[in-house]
């Protein structure tokens, strides 16, 4: 039972990550691969504030958002000078820089050893002690993100970012400040990732830089590629699928050492199959 709850919690953390990444990559057409870095900013802020400074969980989430808003705003300003593939390469670099900060700011982040014994969350005075209670919290978060995404994608903002993706020049000619919209999409996407990070760190109670690598960002990108760009159903499906796949392989009874490699091979095979048969992903309705 605990095992199932664990899987559900991980899913409810990764669905928002996939949805927020899709807002940026699928809808706005900005191929940025630094989502795990933003996720890490939230995770580390919460870990440091709740453990070292005894700050409450919700406050730490708020500070995490603030830190991420500032970082992603500046990052987006820097990256916006780059075009196309160079933008993506720049975002790689950003993830690597964040990773090395987590790795090397040892007094703050514990370096490669990470941070242990991150306190359990206390929300509105209620300690979230059982995993079931935590599941409830993370499900609420996931639902809020889904509702928020529903709202923002059906609002005019949702149309405008897709218009930017489809034809940036035409969107500018029709009077929109394209740069602003791109920055805002970037910041919103990063902030949601940051909240997911805060939840992750209190849940696991231990974090180290390995959860926030470039690979991890690519892992999130895989979710939305499999599920399909610019589709909420796609992002949700992709996250659930990519998380459940290794668990299913475990069920088949493969030893972990083989399953881990098989997992990567299966992702690769699925991606190739999709590129060949259905380049829009399972639910996507847009190909870059």
């Amino acid at each position: 039972m605990d095992y199932i709850i664990h899987i559900l919690i991980i899913i409810s953390i990764f669905v928002p990550l996939a949805l927020s990444l899709d807002l940026l990559v699928g809808r706005t057409g900005i191929l940025s691969i630094t989502h795990a870095g933003m996720y890490g900013l939230g995770a580390y802020t919460t870990a440091i504030l709740t453990k070292t400074y005894g700050v409450s969980f919700l406050t730490s989430v708020a500070v995490g958002i603030l830190v991420t808003v500032c970082a992603s705003y500046m990052l987006s300003k820097v990256l916006s000078r780059l075009k196309g593939d160079y933008y993506t390469l720049g975002s790689f670099g950003a993830n690597i820089i964040l990773f090395s900060l987590f790795m090397n700011l040892t007094p703050l982040t514990g370096g490669p050893m990470g941070i242990f014994n991150i306190p359990q969350a206390v929300i509105f005075g209620i300690p979230v002690t059982s995993t079931l209670a935590f599941l409830l919290v993370s499900l609420v978060f996931m639902c809020l993100v889904i509702i928020f995404m529903q709202m923002i994608t059906t609002s005019r903002f949702g149309l405008i970012i897709q218009a930017i993706r489809d034809d940036t020049l035409a969107t500018e000619v029709f009077g929109y400040n394209v740069k602003d919209f791109k920055t805002v999409a970037f910041v919103i996407s990063a902030s949601i990732a940051s909240i997911a990070g805060s939840l992750y760190s209190t849940y696991i109670s231990f974090i180290d830089p390995s959860s926030f690598t470039l690979n991890e960002s690519i892992f999130m990108l895989t979710m939305i590629i499999i599920g399909g760009f610019a589709s909420k159903r796609g992002a949700i499906f992709g996250a659930v699928f990519v998380i459940l796949l290794p668990e299913l392989l475990r069920f088949v009874g493969l030893p972990d050492s083989i399953a881990a490699q098989l997992r990567v091979a299966i992702y690769g095979a699925i991606l190739m199959y999709l590129m060949y048969k259905k380049p829009t992903g399972v639910f996507g309705n847009y190909t870059p």
């Binding site: 005019r156 149309l159 405008i160 897709q162 993706r165 035409a170 000619v173 029709f174 919209f181 610019a230």
Partner: protein
């Protein structure tokens, strides 16, 4: 709208060479000339798509335009495209902006006028070439507060059924008192629609006047009409 001595070059090519034109409100001004004479470049400079290198422009802030090669939002529907074109807005406002019935109604009116009612909710990328041309025009007409309308070959690729619809729509814009600048190769359309015409050749204005004056001008006949 007035322009004075506009110059623009791409590398070594002088695409616009001291172009000065004057377009009146409530008049349709035609811009004609051979391929590569700089017509699209002039409109691109006037709409800030290209930065002008020299010269001065006096025009209203609010304009709408079409592109020679349709530059559409291919994953939006026809209705969504027109709604977006109506009025630009800031990101903050747009997050809380859900299209009002009024906005939808006025977008649908234009959709009806260009006879795309059946495709109101079709994604633009699923439309035929001719239908996309219509969307390009309808989108420019959707802009609510435009004072100037630039049309870069709006009739190219339109069916015989659509051509009169678009003509009527352009005439209505004229009646509203807008400045209309239209690039067109079809001399019949120029004759029936335009009040005044500029002829460009190799980036220079070689003639101007009423359509008949221009089309009978000797230099124009040689440079453009090949007569």
């Amino acid at each position: 709208m007035k322009t004075y001595n506009i110059n623009h070059h791409f590398g070594g090519i002088q695409a616009l060479n001291d172009v000065s034109i004057f377009c009146e409100e409530g008049k349709i001004t035609g811009l004609i000339g051979p391929n590569g004479s700089g017509k699209s470049t002039l409109v691109n400079v006037l709409t800030n798509v290209l930065h002008r290198m020299h010269g001065k422009v006096e025009n209203g802030k609010h304009f709408a335009r079409t592109f020679q090669d349709a530059k559409l939002w291919s994953n939006l529907t026809v209705l969504e495209s027109f709604l977006m074109a109506q009025k630009s807005e800031s990101w903050l406002y747009s997050i809380f902006h859900f299209s009002s019935l009024e906005e939808i109604k006025s977008a649908k009116e234009i959709i009806e006028r260009i006879e795309l009612t059946h495709h109101t909710n079709t994604k633009v990328r699923n439309l035929s070439y001719g239908q996309r041309k219509l969307v390009e025009i309808g989108r420019a007409l959707s802009v609510t507060n435009s004072q100037i309308l630039y049309l870069d070959e709006p009739f190219a690729g339109l069916s015989d059924i659509s051509t009169p619809l678009v003509k009527d729509l352009i005439l209505e814009e004229k009646k509203k008192g807008k400045v209309v600048l239209i690039i067109e190769h079809d001399m019949n359309i120029i004759r029936t629609l335009c009040d005044y015409v500029y002829v460009l050749d190799a980036g220079k204005v070689i003639a101007e006047g009423t359509p008949d004056e221009c089309l009978n001008n000797k230099e124009v006949k040689e440079a453009y009409l090949g007569l």
